[in-house]
């Protein structure tokens, strides 16, 4: 069995093909480099213009055709509506045209599952951090329950928005990480609410600090404060759930300082520490294809007329049938 997965929740369009032995046959991603924040309609337009060729390219790369594909899966949510609709329309069309079964999957759950597949983590607490998501989840009684999350903006969004204000380009993460190495600490607001956190006050303060401090100092302090907050709530969630493994998922997970801090916390607690391989950390089609296989082989079926997109689909609404 081979599944073709389509990922489009934000600015990236991804196509992946995965087989039932969980081998990733191909995984390609395309996006228009951004100079500003994501413009939902423009992102969707990019996806609509490129999706046909990208699917073709994915198949050709491994010398497959639709005769070899047994299942179509797509990112049904959560995400930006216009992007999600491109993935959904393409997936429905392919399913109908080639008479293939269709499953819509949850993007956040896909990040967790690809991490579990490609690391030694079996039952981790997952710290999922990206441009649009900051969420700490663990599997309890049939679902990935949310133990901590941002109450406003995501960690990636915090860094990107700050980087744009400081004219550091887009995406800002790698530049902020580099500049931070030369900086010293200045005080910025630290906001943790139980196992949740809030980044919007920190963003405002960091932007304002640019008037009085060097960009290096603000980058350093922004990273130290925002990551400390995240590690703190992750540690609370570990203690609370009793899980013994920690897994990083999502694009912000490439940040070395963040990895180092999470690793240090996990070490001190005697917990296992795992990072999703770098090529699968960001949004990609392979994770959608893999979750499609998990869902389908455990009985999930979806009619095209039920494949409407779910922009705000919560992680804990998904029934995890495969665990």
């Amino acid at each position: 069995m081979k599944c073709l997965g389509i990922e489009a929740t934000a600015e990236k369009l991804g196509i992946g093909i995965v087989n039932i032995k969980s081998e990733i046959l191909t995984n390609i991603t395309k996006y228009k480099p951004l100079t500003t924040g994501i413009h939902p309609r423009e992102a969707a337009q990019h996806h609509a213009e490129n999706i046909k060729d990208l699917i073709k390219e994915a198949l050709q790369k491994v010398e497959l055709s639709f005769k070899d594909i047994d299942l179509i899966s797509f990112s049904q949510g959560p995400g930006l509506g216009p992007s999600l609709r491109v993935a959904a329309v393409a997936a429905r069309t392919l399913a109908l045209k080639y008479s293939l079964p269709l499953v819509g999957v949850n993007h956040c759950v896909a990040h967790i599952e690809i991490g579990r597949l490609k690391t030694e983590a079996r039952d981790p607490l997952t710290v999922y951090v990206s441009g649009g998501n900051t969420q700490i989840t663990a599997f309890v009684s049939g679902r990935y329950r949310v133990f901590g999350e941002t109450l406003d903006i995501a960690l990636g969004n915090l860094i990107d928005q700050f980087a744009r204000t400081a004219n550091l380009g887009n995406p800002g993460g790698p530049v902020v990480e580099k500049l931070a190495k030369e900086g010293n600490y200045i005080e910025l607001p630290y906001t943790v609410k139980g196992m949740d956190l809030s980044y919007s006050g920190l963003l405002t303060a960091a932007k304002r600090a640019l008037n009085n401090y060097s960009v290096e100092d603000v980058c350093y302090s922004l990273q130290e404060v925002s990551f400390s907050m995240l590690v703190e709530v992750a540690e609370r969630a570990l203690a609370h759930t009793g899980k013994e493994e920690l897994l990083i998922a999502g694009g912000v997970g490439v940040n070395r300082r963040l990895q180092e801090m999470l690793n240090s916390m996990a070490d001190e607690r005697g917990s296992g520490f795992f990072t999703t391989p770098e090529n699968l950390l960001g949004d990609n089609g392979a994770m959608i294809a893999w979750l499609g296989i998990l869902e389908y082989t455990h009985g999930k079926r979806m009619k095209p007329e039920d494949s409407f997109v779910r922009q705000r689909w919560r992680t804990d609404e998904v029934e995890v049938l495969w665990r």
Partner: protein, 202 residues
């Protein structure tokens, strides 16, 4: 002195019938952040435990505070955390009605707990004690009170999902009883949930 619990941020020791809570150093964060947070929270917790008590919330008595050692000494409350016993409670509605009542009293005195979860509620001889005020503050804003309740709601959703409805129901009844203008907080709470990245309209 006997170690009785190791939380995410502190060790709890029993010494001559009293509790010593010491916030421990975290190597993942830089010392400038680490020292400041631990000191601030130690002082805050001692202060808020006393203030909450003045508003009629059962809390441990504060015997001593040593900010330089990130330590407080408080009375020992013998009992179990609600977190551990919710699933076997016979009078779950009554208990969470009382929890709501306490939250209402606290908020009418502008005390924000900051980590209102069932791990921080101890049932002892029929009374519910609130502990762990380290993330708390005095704040009269509706937003701060809404956030406090949001933290409670989310922790119930993740940890006591089987009793979600009855817990919320009883909690909000108790909350409004002791804090009638809490209806404004509940209204704000709905807005805040929608502001979050994910929510489902149910």
């Amino acid at each position: 002195m006997k170690l009785i619990a190791r939380g995410a941020e502190a060790v709890i020791m029993l010494d001559e019938g009293e509790i010593i809570k010491k916030r421990i150093k975290k190597n993942y964060r830089i010392p400038l952040i680490d020292l400041k947070l631990r000191k601030k929270r130690t002082k805050r917790e001692a202060r808020l435990l006393s203030i909450a008590r003045q508003h009629g919330i059962p809390t441990p008595f504060v015997r001593d505070v040593i900010p330089e050692e990130f330590t407080i000494r408080i009375s020992y409350i013998e009992g179990e955390t609600l977190r551990d016993i919710v699933e076997k409670l016979k009078n779950i509605k009554e208990i969470f009605h009382e929890v709501g009542n306490l939250a209402g009293k606290m908020h009418s005195g502008n005390v924000i707990h900051g980590d209102l979860t069932t791990s921080n509620m101890i049932l002892s001889k029929g009374r519910i004690y609130l502990i762990d005020f380290g993330l708390g503050e005095i704040n009269e804003s509706i937003e701060a009170k809404g956030t406090d309740i949001l933290v409670f709601k989310k922790s119930v959703r993740s940890t006591h999902f089987e009793h979600e409805e009855e817990i919320f129901d009883a909690f909000f009844r108790g909350y409004l009883e002791s804090f009638p203008s809490g209806s404004k907080v509940i209204e704000r709470l709905k807005l805040m949930e929608r502001r979050g990245r994910y929510f489902s309209e149910r």
